[in-house]
């Protein structure tokens, strides 16, 4: 984001609205809300310049709990509302709050086009692999065979790989975090907020009512070290309780190796500017309990590319500086006129 920096020193409390938070007790959304409120003072934007736009779904109640400008819009359309907002006022710090159904099902079209345009905003995609607000149907990220109210014999649909989809759509920043690792979430949120262009952060979020434990293999203490790989810029890809495993690139394939057998220089060194490696990271998407490959978290990829709303405004500024500010009387008159006496 490139908004005017705030001189006021805020605390997390300044960003909390007076409304009672009404998510189910134990919902992963609470943790994300807390981290967003905590990170905003660090982002350093004036409170009145911050706007949260959401669609529909549990996560989309988010703007009501933020003491900023906000809009709870309609299902799937938050990226489009945000586009209009940024085109009208590029100085705003815009945050789109969306879920796996909102962003990837009903709003899939808007998400890919927002990423293609590279609008300067932050998209937080709360992925709980379930429809929560409609009480438990499978979502476009639910694993195949998922038993839900709408799929009593198991879902037939192949799920999306959200980050691969976003990367394919031309995202200039993609990353992954989880509700149950607030420290890492906060760092990644801050990274996302600094990106100039659309940042897309997928956040694994536990729905303890309709899909409890969907990500426990990656979020709980006993299994997390084996199943999760935290990406750090310039550092080798390592994981495990003792950081005993590393990842090497063999041809075009990542392979898990014992760190004892290799020097760190031989391991895959994370470089978020490397597009080819970013693609490989998005494809590290097997169920980590069924494979030796961990699931990556952190910033996968970031790059600079022209920003849509800046392009729109540059054309206007250019026209004004070349031809001068428009004169309405001249416009109304047009090119050809004639007089009648």
């Amino acid at each position: 984001m490139m908004e005017a920096e705030s001189t006021v020193k805020y605390t997390a409390k300044d960003f909390a609205s007076d409304q009672d938070v009404r998510w189910c007790p134990g919902c992963g959304d609470y943790s994300i809300l807390k981290q967003v409120q905590a990170v905003l003072p660090e982002v350093g934007v004036k409170k009145e310049d911050v706007v949260f736009i959401s669609g529909i779904g549990c996560s989309s109640r988010f703007p009501y709990y933020m003491n900023t400008y906000g809009m709870h819009s309609i299902h799937g359309r938050a990226p489009s509302v945000a586009m209009g907002l940024k085109v009208a006022n590029p100085n705003l710090s815009v945050w789109v709050i969306t879920g796996d159904g909102d962003a990837l099902s009903i709003g899939g079209n808007h998400l890919i086009h927002a990423l293609r345009r590279n609008i300067d905003m932050n998209v937080l995609l709360f992925n709980n692999e379930i429809y929560g607000l409609t009480k438990g149907q499978y979502s476009p990220t639910s694993p195949q065979g998922k038993l839900t109210k709408s799929s009593p014999l198991g879902s037939v649909d192949q799920p999306f790989n959200p980050l691969a989809l976003c990367f394919g759509a031309g995202a200039t920043f993609i990353g992954r975090a989880m509700d149950r690792d607030p420290k890492h979430l906060r760092t990644t949120l801050l990274e996302a907020s600094k990106h100039v262009g659309t940042s897309l952060l997928e956040i694994y979020q536990n729905c303890n009512v309709f899909n409890d434990g969907a990500f426990f293999s990656m979020t709980e203490k006993d299994t997390k070290p084996k199943n999760v790989l935290f990406l750090e810029e310039g550092q080798p890809l390592v994981f495990g309780a003792e950081q005993e495993f590393g990842i090497r690139i063999d041809g075009f394939n990542p392979v898990v190796v014992n760190r004892a057998d290799y020097s760190d220089d031989d391991l895959w060194i994370h470089n978020s500017a490397d597009k080819g490696k970013a693609y490989m990271l998005t494809e590290m998407f097997e169920d980590p309990t069924q494979s030796d490959m961990p699931r990556p978290f952190g910033v996968f990829y970031k790059t600079d590319r022209p920003i849509y709303e800046k392009g729109v405004i540059a054309q206007i500024d250019n026209a004004k500086s070349k031809l001068g500010e428009g004169d309405l009387d001249e416009l109304l008159q047009g090119k050809f006129t004639w007089d009648i006496d």
């Binding site: 609205s17 409304q19 004036k46 409170k47 009145e48 310049d49 911050v50 706007v51 736009i53 529909i56 703007p63 009501y64 933020m66 003491n67 900023t68 400008y69 906000g70 809009m71 709870h72 819009s73 309609i74 359309r77 990226p79 489009s80 509302v81 945000a82 586009m83 209009g84 907002l85 085109v87 009208a88 006022n89 100085n91 705003l92 079209n109 808007h110 086009h113 729109v312 405004i313 054309q315 206007i316 250019n318 026209a319 004004k320 031809l323 001068g324 500010e325 428009g326 309405l328 009387d329 416009l331 109304l332 008159q333 047009g334 050809f336 006129t337 004639w338 007089d339 009648i340 006496d341």
Partner: protein, 611 residues
């Protein structure tokens, strides 16, 4: 040189294959006639396919215009002149030519191949006596004459043949004693970078003109004097251009940026094309990924404090329905333009219809009143688009502005206003709290809420599609609150009526007990028909409804003054349903659902039958 015969008015129809350049020929003739001082009304009529199969009836493109030495309100019923570039154009349009009218044909377009493509008997001469006897037939081999004119050029045959329409135009200019200069200027601008093509077009245009002058075969030449239009400076404008200019003007007068979110659709795209040119005025156009994104980007822009506009035609408006409901719930200003076309579904994309009125009034979930205004003529699109924006901004509501394919593509002379003539637009952004804290849904005496835009310190607030508590705007499920808010939003829209001009008689007999009440693009045909009836001694009046939701405050009283009210509509009876639900009077329908506007004589006949 022969003496030209004086005429009051003339209706010309240029008809040819989609690729024959008839639209350009028609617009040029219109421009020149307007510059000559005639009043003009036009009706471009073309197929939905960009290049429909060549030579077929489906591929015929037509441009009809009427010009006269008096006020002209329609592009004419029957034609005085028909230019048919091929057999299909003749087959599709001969019925529109008046007995005794001039039939100009390009004989090259009547060979066996063209007859076969037009599904006409290839062994029968399509221009045989029994067919053409009622008309003055003028046979020209335009293809040959064009090629001969350009014998020296290095252009290819295809490019040479593309100049055919300039021969026709030059010839018709001669027939009506017109000046070539405006078209010469136009061609110079259009082909300035392609000198050879420019030269070819100019040569053929002049050749067509001189051909009329030197060929003794042609005996009639006509003259249509300037119309007594009110004094002033004029330009020509189409409805879509006028709508675009109305929106730019409203933004300019209110000191706001115009953000236009749209997705290409016939026949609304020309508004996007026009607005995209006006970047110097701070006009931001967004070509969104779909209709929903288009309206939602306008919602975002309205939240940010811009004059937000989205436009489409019926199918696109259907997609925007949920978002329009959100904008009504948020109570933010927006103009939604619907340039109507034949429906339902994809319907008749390039043909006109007025069948989206009920969609505009009722096409959303829940109780969701939105003001609905409609333009009567191409020029009126300027006024109504401007007023739609003014009402949206002053009353914090989305406003529907209805136009249709007929007036959107049609053009007429416009005594354009200057900025100082435009009605002021009165609104202000909220700058400070209106209570102990900021209450985004605390209303003024017109039930209008404050507009606080992001970036304003201290007024941070949340809006959304969930029902909101009165004043605070916080989410509320309280039963009584919902009923109160539904009624309040309706009352806010109803309160606009006191700011609208009163419903009045447009023309005709002010003592009449029979009224023709129209809305939208039927204006010209109704006015012409009513004036004609009055000349015949009939007692009938014309009134035109521009504000359909809410209606003008005096509407009930106005309606009560008539015994019979004829309601002509290019649909199956939509306004009449609304009128019957609101008022107790004898409403008589007159409907036409052919993708075509009414002719004045159709309305005249109906008036005579009910008097």
């Amino acid at each position: 040189m022969m003496e030209a015969i004086d005429k009051k008015d003339i209706t010309v129809l240029f008809a040819g294959d989609s690729g024959d350049g008839m639209q350009l020929t028609g617009t040029q003739f219109t421009q020149t006639s307007a510059l000559h001082g005639n009043d003009v009304s036009t009706f471009p009529n073309f197929p939905a396919e960009i290049r429909a199969p060549q030579g077929t009836v489906a591929g015929v493109s037509g441009f009809q215009l009427k010009f006269g030495n008096h006020k002209i309100f329609t592009p004419g019923d029957a034609c005085d002149v028909l230019v048919a570039m091929n057999a299909a154009a003749l087959k599709a349009n001969l019925g529109k030519l008046k007995k005794g009218g001039q039939l100009i044909v390009n004989i090259d377009g009547f060979d066996k191949k063209n007859l076969r493509l037009a599904h006409m008997d290839a062994d029968l001469d399509p221009l045989r006596d029994e067919v053409v006897a009622p008309y003055q037939l003028i046979k020209l081999d335009i293809t040959k004459l064009t090629r001969e004119t350009l014998a020296e050029t290095s252009l290819g045959k295809k490019e040479v043949d593309r100049c055919k329409n300039m021969f026709v135009l030059g010839y018709v200019y001669w027939m009506y004693s017109r000046d070539l200069s405006s078209t010469i200027t136009f061609l110079k601008e259009k082909f300035g970078k392609k000198p050879e093509i420019l030269e070819a077009n100019l040569k053929v245009l002049e050749a067509g003109y001189h051909f009329g002058d030197t060929n003794e075969e042609f005996t009639s030449r006509f003259k249509v004097d300037p119309a007594p239009l009110s004094a002033g400076r004029y330009r020509s404008v189409t409805g879509n251009q006028a709508a675009a200019l109305g929106l730019v003007s409203a933004a300019n007068v209110s000191g706001l940026e115009l953000v236009y979110g749209s997705y290409p659709i016939t026949p609304a795209s020309d508004i996007l094309h026009e607005l995209a040119k006006h970047k110097r005025f701070g006009v931001k156009t967004i070509q969104a990924e779909d209709e929903i994104a288009a309206v939602c980007s306008a919602i975002g822009a309205s939240f940010a404090g811009a004059l937000a506009v989205t436009a489409s035609s019926g199918p696109g408006i259907a997609l925007k329905g949920e978002a329009i409901g959100l904008e009504a719930m948020l109570e933010l200003p927006m103009v939604i333009v619907n340039v109507q076309r034949g429906g339902p579904s994809t319907g008749l994309p390039t043909k006109t219809e007025q069948a989206d009125l009920l969609q505009a009034l009722y096409g959303r979930n829940g109780e969701c009143p939105v003001p609905v205004f409609a333009a009567a003529t191409p020029v009126d699109c300027f006024n109504m688009a401007y007023l739609s924006a003014k009402v949206a901004l002053e009353h914090m509501t989305p406003v529907f502005f209805l136009s249709d394919g007929y007036i959107a593509n049609g053009s007429e002379p416009w005594k354009y206003p200057s900025k100082k003539d435009l009605t002021p637009i009165k609104f202000a952004f909220a700058k400070e709290a209106n209570g102990d804290s900021f209450l985004p849904y605390k209303r003024n005496e017109d039930l209008v809420r404050p507009w606080a835009v992001p970036g304003t310190p201290g007024l941070e607030h949340r809006v959304g599609g969930l029902e909101k508590e009165n004043e605070t705007g916080n989410v509320s499920y309280v039963p009584e609150n919902h009923e109160f808010m539904v009624k309040t939003r309706a009352a806010k829209v109803a309160a606009i009526s006191k700011y609208l001009p009163k419903q009045e008689i447009e023309s005709g007999d002010i003592t009449a007990k029979t009224l023709v009440l129209g809305w939208g693009s039927t204006f010209g045909a109704i006015k012409t028909a009513v004036e004609k009836c009055c000349l015949d001694g009939d007692s009938v009046a014309h009134s035109h409804l521009r504000y359909i939701e809410p209606m003008p405050a005096n509407m009930e009283e106005f309606i009560a003054g008539f015994e019979k009210i004829l309601v002509p509509e290019i649909n199956n009876g939509q306004l009449i349903k609304v009128l019957k639900a609101k008022f107790d009077a004898e409403f008589i329908p007159l409907n036409k659902i052919q993708g075509l506007p009414f002719t004045a004589s159709e309305i005249e006949a109906k008036i005579k039958s009910i008097l």
